[in-house]
């Protein structure tokens, strides 16, 4: 099992949610985060100089899925969340050893 941890633009959340849904991926956990990538946010110009706006609002989607579905999830996110501009986000794949359903206590490996 893997955790797909995707950090995307907040305005893309709805689209990504729907795209995943249409591929049968329903369960997910969403967190509001702030982040910056290698290019250090956005540089604004103004009369008095320039200003770096880093730590822009992002949304983190966490989806724990079987190894077999990881690729599909990643592809769906990439194709839906992409705008082609800096700040589109990153996806990290993290190993998960097991998962337990609180309602029933049942364990999945």
């Amino acid at each position: 099992m893997k955790k797909v941890e995707a950090i995307i633009r907040p305005e893309k959340l709805e689209d990504v949610k729907k795209a995943l849904e249409s591929r049968g991926i329903i369960a997910m956990t969403v967190t509001e985060v702030r982040g910056r990538g290698e290019q250090k946010g956005i540089k604004l110009q103004f009369r008095g100089g320039t200003m770096d706006v880093d730590l822009l609002p992002k949304v983190k989607i966490e989806i724990v899925v079987d190894d077999s579905k990881v690729d599909a999830v990643v592809k769906t996110i990439v194709s839906t969340a992409r705008t082609g501009k800096f700040g589109d986000g990153k996806i990290f794949i993290i190993p998960v050893e097991s998962s337990i359903r609180v309602r029933t206590g049942e364990v999945e490996k």
Binding site: E14, I42, L44, L56, P57
Partner: protein, 407 residues
């Protein structure tokens, strides 16, 4: 002249002026709650600045051209009104004989300020602060001041006999249709129509609505300029139409969407307030119920129409103030009754007044719309109206003010 000043009337007019002043920041909160959290400061700040800019303009020359001696029905001018130097003592017999001249000046000032504030609806989340300031000074001087003169300053519409108790035409039609012009010219927000732009703080909008409702008693009942029967009627009508407007929008949206949003209740209240504004001192309370109800339902549908057309007049100044004000101006010509004031409307057989109201409304729409178009183009060519894309993306709070609203 000083001998005629009534302490009671003055007490009410000063209190009313304070109430109307509160409406402008109240509007800032009303609007601010509906934008995304990255633009809330910008929204409120524009309303504060509307108040600040107009306050200074009005003292220096705004009042002089709006309420000075009439020149051909088009504009006013009285040199002694510049800087208010000739108005420190005494009252203005042709406007409000029983209150000090400066009380009347201050009361009228607050109307000019909020009118500019209303237009920021169409600028939400996308304009430069500097552009707003330049536009604001020009618009107040070239659109508001002449219109105020026409309707209240012994200009041509007043002479014609058009009725506008508290500013349906001058304030709401003018700002609403100007907002439409602005929205059409400066275009949509980035991403409008692509993804949803949720209001970031609905309780803030409800608080703003509460302050508007509260302040509007000064707006309408204060417009009686005396503390007596007329003010009391205007007060009751204001409250009644507001309540009916809230209920009208609520039920209309309940029927259509299955659930009534609180923003609809609040917007309906504002629609009711707008619609009763020109009528408040001319109609009776039962008519106010009709005026408010229709306003709520009408403005709701105009909003749906605007959305369907993909016009990003973001916070619906046009739907609520523009068309609500238009309905109110016409409704004044329908429901005015001599039981309340010296005029009667269509339902009492007076077609003349009805026609006058339509003339006044239409000429205000045309004038406000056309001059606004010109001003927007001028500001856009010179200062530039919209911020750069990245500035819009990070939000105006950071890009225009260097601030983050909540942390």
């Amino acid at each position: 002249m000083v001998g005629h000043i009534s302490a009671g009337d003055t007490a009410w007019l000063l209190a009313s002026t304070a109430l109307v002043m509160l409406m402008t920041p109240g509007l800032g909160l009303f609007y601010g709650g509906m934008v995304r959290r990255k633009n809330v400061i910008s929204m409120i700040a524009m309303c504060f600045l509307a108040l600040a800019i107009v306050s200074v303009q009005w003292v220096i020359f705004g009042f002089a051209i709006a309420f000075g001696k009439d020149i051909n029905g088009i504009i006013g001018f009285s040199p002694s009104y510049l800087g208010l130097v000739g108005l420190l003592k005494g009252s203005l017999n042709n406007y409000a004989p029983t209150v000090p001249a400066l009380a009347y000046v201050a009361f009228q000032l607050m109307f000019a300020a909020i009118t500019l504030g209303i237009i920021t609806s169409a600028m939400a989340e996308r304009v430069k602060l500097s552009a707003f300031i330049v536009f604001g000074i020009l618009w107040t001087t070239l659109v508001y001041d002449p219109l105020a003169h026409w309707v209240w300053g012994h200009g041509w519409l007043m002479k014609l006999g058009a009725l506008d108790f508290a500013g349906g035409t001058v304030v709401h039609i003018s700002s609403g249709f100007s907002a439409l012009a602005v929205a059409l010219l400066i275009g949509k927000r980035m991403g409008y129509g692509e993804y949803s732009m949720e209001p970031h703080n609905i309780p803030m909008t409800l608080l703003g609505c509460a302050l508007l409702w509260f302040g509007w008693f000064g707006f309408n009942a204060g417009s009686a300029l005396t503390a007596g029967t007329l003010a009391s009627i205007a007060f009751v009508n204001t409250n009644t139409a507001t309540a009916a407007g809230a209920l009208g929008w609520m039920f209309a949206s309940w029927l259509k969407e299955g659930k009534p949003g609180s923003l609809g209740i609040a917007s309906g209240a504002v629609a009711g307030l707008v619609a009763i504004t020109p009528a408040a001192g001319f109609v009776d309370p039962l008519s106010s119920i009709v005026i408010g109800l229709v306003a709520g339902i009408l403005c709701y549908n105009v909003m749906l129409f605007r959305i369907k057309k993909g016009i990003d007049e973001s916070l619906d100044a046009w739907a609520v103030h523009g068309t609500g004000g238009l309905w109110g101006a016409i409704a004044t010509g329908i429901f005015a009754t001599t039981a309340v004031n010296s005029y009667s409307g269509l339902i009492y057989g007076n077609v003349h007044q009805f026609v006058l109201q339509i003339i006044a409304a239409c000429s205000s729409i045309v004038y406000a719309f056309v001059v606004t178009v010109i001003l927007v183009l001028i500001v856009d060519k010179t200062v530039g109206f919209r911020v750069a894309d990245e500035e819009e993306y990070v939000g105006l709070d950071i890009s225009q003010h260097g601030e983050i609203a909540y942390s």
